[in-house]
């Protein structure tokens, strides 16, 4: 046993074994991605940038029920609504989503009774200014303005 150990030590068996693994991976194909050009597959359930859905007339689907704001652990959603005196329905006046605080937990999406707020599969959300992260309703419907880096 001792002899065997000594021989393997002298012959660098352990190092050769390890190096064989490294050499094997040198001839196998690469697993890395060249990010901005190649993009990995994003699954359907991915919770990314928030978006508010609109109906066929282009009006917001939101019924101002305030459930999303109540179910937000960090309180990043603010819903302001008024009562329409004619129809006696609540009408949305302002909807603010603060992306800086969002945890992307998906509770708002889950609780929404009309599937209005959705967390989409977009994941590139960088901005130059902090105030650009506070999204109003029209920004939420169109999606965040993407800044393209130019050389």
């Amino acid at each position: 046993m001792r002899m065997k150990e000594l021989v393997s030590k002298v012959l660098f068996v352990d190092l050769i074994k390890g190096l064989s693994v490294t050499f094997k991976s040198m001839v196998s194909h690469a697993v890395t991605e060249q990010y901005p050009k190649e993009r990995s597959k994003i699954y359907e359930r991915f919770r990314g940038e928030p978006r508010m859905a609109v109906d066929e007339n282009g009006k917001t689907k939101c019924i101002a029920c305030n459930l999303c704001a109540m179910n937000c652990p960090v309180g990043c959603i603010t819903v302001e609504a008024e009562r329409d005196p004619e129809t006696k329905k609540r009408v949305l006046t302002r909807y603010v989503f603060d992306m800086q605080r969002c945890l992307f937990c998906g509770f708002c999406e889950e609780i929404c009774p009309v599937n209005c707020i959705q967390l989409t599969t977009d994941y590139e959300m960088s901005q130059y200014d902090r105030k650009d992260f506070v999204l109003e309703l029209n920004e939420l419907e169109k999606g965040m303005e993407k800044i393209k880096y130019k050389k």
């Binding site: 305030n66 109540m70 309180g75």
Partner: protein, 201 residues
């Protein structure tokens, strides 16, 4: 904020607030039956052990803050509760004895967990158990840090999570979650914030 708004909304609707159907209060606490350790401990430390309860298959002992070292030594040596899994405190500002300290001990031999709860008043000192279970060292520091409960004979009673010159004890119930030690912040960061709006001055 959001909840307040919702309350207002339901009032706006003009409907009478719906009364929830009255549920029968479920009492989870049961009396201890056939638990060997409890009968032994109750006999041996009759003046310390006040009560024992069982909740969701978990035994809890209630003890008094007297000679607790003998009691815990007995539990460790005779009853083989050899690991202190956790130590924490709970704040009840309305009670006469304001704090409760909870020892969570575990026996590898019996594969059994035991909770020991002890009520203490504000300002009362507790004997440290870090001699019996060395793992109590940091959790006791944490309890001191978060609740301001002092442990007698503790080898190294300093704040552990918060900075050493911090003044408040944040896990007390009278400490609001938005609160911060404003003096500390002014001294070290040079800012002071408005507690209500969160604006930095």
């Amino acid at each position: 904020m959001a909840e307040e708004k919702n309350k207002n909304d339901s009032l706006e609707k003009g409907k009478a607030p719906r009364k929830p159907p009255k549920k029968e209060e479920v009492n989870l606490y049961e009396e201890i039956k056939d638990f060997d350790t409890f009968t032994k401990v109750k006999e041996k430390f009759a003046d310390i052990v006040l009560d024992g309860k069982r909740i969701r298959e978990q035994h809890i002992f209630y003890i008094k803050n007297e000679n607790i070292l003998d009691f815990f030594k007995y539990l460790r040596d005779e009853e083989k509760y050899d690991m202190l899994a956790d130590l924490t405190a709970i704040d009840y500002p309305d009670r006469e004895k304001r704090f409760a300290i909870l020892y969570n001990i575990y026996s590898f031999k019996k594969l059994e967990r035991l909770l020991v709860r002890m009520d203490i008043a504000d300002g009362e000192e507790v004997e440290t158990v870090s001699e019996i279970w060395p793992s109590a060292n940091w959790p006791e520091r944490e309890v001191y840090d978060m609740f301001g409960i002092k442990f007698k004979n503790h080898p190294d009673l300093r704040r552990i999570l918060l900075p050493e010159d911090w003044k408040t004890h944040p896990l007390r119930k009278d400490f609001d979650v938005k609160n911060r030690d404003q003096d500390w912040m002014e001294r070290h960061l040079g800012i002071r914030e408005d507690v209500n709006s969160g604006e930095v001055k």
